[in-house]
């Protein structure tokens, strides 16, 4: 985006960045909610889902947002008012910061930093603070237990996620997300460069670990212990209502969309499709659409797992992270490092 906006005044550039940023977060999130949460989940349960608002229920999301806006903003009497009100914003901020580093075309990005992926993984953990704030400030046992479970889970699964990304970084030789895309576009698999080198092939183990860790980071089933409704009502969301609940909801699905986009960028080649030249200016136009398509593919898998599997027990959940995923990702790093040196 920096190249596209080079000639504009500062305020114009800022306005465009703001609008595009909002769209980039909200549109994929809305698409995900409608396509997967409303429709795919219904079809997997042999029902049709929302059908009344708009053709095939496509305006249902607007109706839901309108409903949430009308609701009373309830604040528990013993709540820590300031922290309680701030918590959803902290969660949303981490979501909005994540979108910064994902490139949607050769010249389309928000910031081009050399430590891009490091920045993304760092800001993604800010949401833990927001969740802990929500749980603590609600002055409710359910909220506090949910928040503590969420914190334990997010910290446990952050490690395999980071370690899975390390494999990609070793293979690409850079932390810059744009360069990782280029490395996949121009790479070769044992001398065959026809489809580039999407890291999902050479880093398949890392891809699987990343998907599982993302699932856990999103606190989606089968990793939804923090919001286990049969024991904790809805965990740290229990005391929230109306607009603040909506913000958590948007945050959850926007994060799902952005993590899918991140996975698509790191493992499926981002905005690049084989057959065209990387430097082709056409990618500035079709790049976002390709990225959205790949994002939806990843999100399909994430939501497919979500609608299929029952919930993990808390100890199983921690065991999976510490005893299986972290050793596996360490092995993955070692193998990747050795092969990188050999070839």
């Amino acid at each position: 985006m920096s190249v596209v906006l080079a000639d504009l005044a500062y305020w114009q550039e800022t306005t465009i960045r703001l609008v595009v940023g909002l769209l980039a977060v909200l549109l994929p999130a809305g698409t995900l909610v409608y396509l997967f949460l409303f429709k795919m989940m219904s079809f997997m349960q042999s029902r049709l889902g929302p059908m009344e608002a708009g053709p095939y229920g496509s305006l249902q999301l607007l109706a839901e947002v309108g409903k949430f806006l009308q609701k009373e903003d309830i604040l528990p009497k013993a709540a820590d008012r300031l922290v309680f009100k701030l918590a959803p914003f902290v969660v949303l901020i981490s979501t909005f910061l994540l979108i910064l580093v994902i490139p949607a075309g050769p010249d389309l990005w928000f910031i081009d930093v050399d430590t891009g992926i490091f920045l993304a993984l760092a800001v993604s953990s800010i949401s833990v603070i927001g969740i802990l704030m929500a749980g603590w400030a609600s002055s409710s046992k359910y909220s506090l237990l949910g928040a503590l479970r969420a914190t334990g889970q997010l910290i446990a699964y952050e490690l395999p996620m980071v370690l899975a990304v390390v494999g990609v970084i070793i293979q690409a030789g850079t932390l810059n997300v744009q360069d990782i895309v280029l490395a996949q576009a121009t790479g070769e698999i044992f001398g065959f460069g026809g489809i580039g080198n999407p890291f999902v092939i050479t880093q398949f183990l890392g891809f699987l670990i990343f998907l599982i860790a993302v699932q856990a980071e999103l606190t989606q089933p089968p990793f939804d212990m923090p919001v286990a409704e049969s024991e904790l009502v809805t965990g740290y969301l229990t005391e929230y209502s109306g607009l603040r609940f909506l913000m958590f909801f948007i945050g959850e699905f926007a994060t799902a969309a952005i993590f899918s986009a991140l996975a698509a960028t790191l493992f499926l080649g981002g905005w690049y499709v084989p057959g065209l030249d990387v430097t082709d200016n056409l990618f500035n136009v079709i790049g976002p659409i390709i990225l959205l398509g790949k994002t939806l593919l990843i999100a399909f898998f994430i939501f497919w797992f979500r609608f299929t599997y029952p919930r993990f027990r808390e100890d199983q959940l921690q065991q999976l992270a510490w005893k299986v995923l972290i050793p596996l990702s360490l092995i993955n790093i070692v193998i990747t490092g050795v092969l990188k040196v050999v070839f």
Binding site: F43, S46, R47, L48, W304, F305, L320, V324
Partner: protein, 169 residues
């Protein structure tokens, strides 16, 4: 730990949900889009209870057996003309009020079972929701109107000696 995770089962589970997804997309869902498409319940479905007023003798058996106490009956006695000339006038029960409160009713059907005079019947009608809860109290005129929707009894087996029951209309 590795033994506990049953990978083939996990993949099988994904297959089940995916198959359902494809089936719903190609053959349609199991559900019915209710206000547009109406489901036809089985003929013996317990939708609403109909009252055949002429058969009711205000004996109060249904009201007393009702676990929710949702049937309200009021009646009075009157002297009917004697059967034979010169005889005593007969005492008869007249029904003044017969209400069923469907906001309390739990559709157990004990009143239908217990009625000795064939005055209460099940009908499969189900569309009688109301905006006000008080409107769910159906009086005897409304309950009599449900009689039109009572399905006929099924025929007995061939060769049965029993007298075939008919729904009074």
């Amino acid at each position: 730990m590795f033994k506990k995770i049953k990978v083939p089962g996990l993949i099988k589970g994904l297959g089940v949900t995916f198959k359902t997804l494809i089936r719903t997309l190609t053959k349609g869902a199991h559900t019915v889009q209710y206000p547009h498409v109406k489901e036809s319940p089985p003929t013996r479905a317990r939708g609403v209870i109909a009252l055949h007023e002429e058969n009711c003798t205000a004996c109060m058996l249904c009201a007393r057996e009702c676990p929710d106490w949702c049937i309200y009956i009021e009646g009075h006695k009157y002297k009917a003309p004697p059967r034979r000339p010169g005889g005593k006038p007969r005492k008869k029960n007249a029904l003044d009020r017969f209400d069923i409160d469907y906001s309390l009713c739990m559709f157990c059907g004990i009143c239908v079972e217990v009625c000795p005079f064939e005055a209460l019947f099940w009908t499969p009608e189900y569309e009688y929701s109301e905006l006000k809860i008080a409107d769910l109290l159906h009086d005897k005129t409304l309950l009599s109107q449900w009689m039109e929707t009572v399905p006929d009894f099924e025929d007995y087996e061939a060769g049965s000696e029993a007298k075939v029951l008919k729904v009074p209309r």
